[in-house]
Point group: C2
Chain length 332, copies 2
């Protein structure tokens, strides 16, 4: 079907600006306030005009500013993603405007309006977990990539760490180093990161012809306390020579309990964590062998896709997985 032909005059009329202003906004030439430019372009798109087509200079109309919307106020997850995005954007070529929503939807809406008014070229949306979040497709009309926390709309483009693949690698390391009775201690059963990691670990055991020690995955909190308690339960219930833990804090709790109970790590029991969070893995006794989620690579890849989308690509859609890496230390 042929596209409807929309004229500049029509856009100007609906947006209530002069034809000259409409031309500037659409062709990206001359100086306009970002708000006006955005309003005219939104109007043009709403009327069915395809923008940025027709051989104009690719940088025309661009602000070279990308918005980053995060709900991770603590910053442990956001900072490596920002660093990775910067690897892609180049030093100062594309600037990042940071907006931290504190998980508050009203604050988020407000920020998105502000970012749009400032004429951002694109948007990276990130958070503090692998759980999916509401798509912003209906809220903001700029190229958008979701990093770490995927969009719930498969038409959007998301980049996340391969939790299951990383956990598979971690559990496989226990198998490869001779463990035969391996327990799996995960976080909450309603967190995707937790269930994906538990499933990845279980697959590695299954492929090696092993059962999960104790018969099932133990679900609890993302905390050292839970790791400690889970190890107590395991010691009371079953024999085991390996523990796959779905994060480093759990692994550290497991290690503390095993040491208290006189079980030697790694001689008698091997322990693997996930996150490779230096403050936890390096301080533990012994230091924890852990799966790195490569969040910086997630940020780098999200920014690469965003750059392509800003240049006019539709974006691949769906969820792209970034490989995780096993970092071996003393615990396994």
């Amino acid at each position: 079907m042929a596209k409807k032909r929309v004229t500049l005059a029509q856009v100007a009329e609906v947006a209530e600006v002069s034809v000259g202003t409409a031309s500037k906004a659409i062709n990206g030439r001359g100086q306009l306030s970002p708000a006006t430019r955005q309003r005219v372009r939104d109007t043009a798109r709403a009327l069915g005009m395809v923008l940025d087509a027709g051989g104009e200079h690719p940088s025309a109309g661009r602000s070279f500013i990308v918005g980053v919307l995060t709900s991770d106020s603590y910053g442990r997850f956001t900072m490596p993603i920002l660093t990775g995005a910067e690897d892609t954007f180049g030093v100062g070529e594309i600037a990042m405007l940071l907006a931290e929503s504190r998980g508050d939807p009203i604050r988020e809406r407000h920020y998105l309006r502000t970012l749009r008014n400032r004429g951002i070229d694109g948007l990276i949306v990130t958070g503090r977990s692998s759980d999916s979040r509401a798509s912003l497709r209906e809220v903001i009309d700029v190229p958008t990539v979701y990093a770490l926390s995927p969009s719930d709309d498969r038409a959007d483009t998301s980049v996340v760490p391969d939790d299951a693949g990383g956990a598979y690698r971690g559990a496989q390391h226990l198998v490869n180093t001779g463990r035969r009775s391996i327990a799996v201690v995960a976080g909450p059963a309603h967190h995707l990161a937790s269930t994906h990691r538990a499933a990845g670990a279980a697959r590695a055991l299954e492929e090696a012809g092993l059962q999960i020690a104790g018969g099932e995955v133990l679900h609890g909190e993302w905390s050292e306390r839970w790791g400690f308690e889970a190890a107590q339960r395991l010691l009371a219930a079953t024999d085991f020579d390996g523990v796959f833990c779905a994060n480093d804090q759990i692994a550290r709790g497991v290690l503390d309990c095993l040491r208290d109970q006189g079980r030697r790590v790694p001689d008698e029991v091997g322990v693997v964590g996930v996150d490779n969070w230096s403050v936890v893995v390096e301080a533990a006794r012994p230091a924890i062998t852990s799966v790195d989620l490569n969040l910086r690579a997630v940020g780098r890849r999200a920014a690469e896709l965003l750059v392509q989308m800003i240049a006019g690509d539709a974006g691949p859609g769906g969820v792209e997985l970034v490989d995780c890496t096993l970092v071996a230390r003393q615990s396994a």
Copy 2:
């Protein structure tokens, strides 16, 4: 002495722009590229013109964008400062452009050029330690406030946590809860945060008529390992019923050693840390009583001063201290 009178025509001539463009740039009206606007304004200032005087609208010429330059790639220190700055700036009223220098001076220079070209109204400079950093006074000509890492030029305005006062409060808590033989375990002797905290703790002991247990401050790393080793040394050398630790990681190492050696905390020994870093203090056994540096308040205050400076104030200069808070848990 009367100020030299500089005319628009002179500015226009030197900056090689029309008088109309010079007027737009200086009076903040009309549309200009940020780079041109900045160049003209820099020229005007260089010629001795006082900008933004004379009753023009205070928002004229403003981008409502503030740059944030950080050397803290890990983000543990930067994120609370950003959150605090946002408290001051209001949701979306003033946007923050983030630039992360990774401690690389070349990258930093490049970023500063980019931020200036984007017409930022002001700049917050932050890092990952209380050690002073080189002033940017000669490098970028926008209102600038240093947060956490103060400028080495006292003419600049810096806001930092009151490390010494916070440590004083932490050690005083040990005194007030009946400890009489208190050791002080600090970080590196060449870190200001370490020496300030050690001095604050020593002052609290002195005021209470107490000597430091073991005779002197023990200096080492900012790590659990060092805390563990320091506690071993103390146990071998002296009697003590309290340990003031200059950060939470040291405190956790001390706790682990005391538990290994059968010393009960807090019954026999009280332990206090600094940072109130949840992942460390809440996971320790027992949970650590710690001094919170109130970094969010540091960010809030830095942004308040910056807003005043953007509005035309000269800035107070010097280093303003933000109070720290003791958060009591089980360890003391």
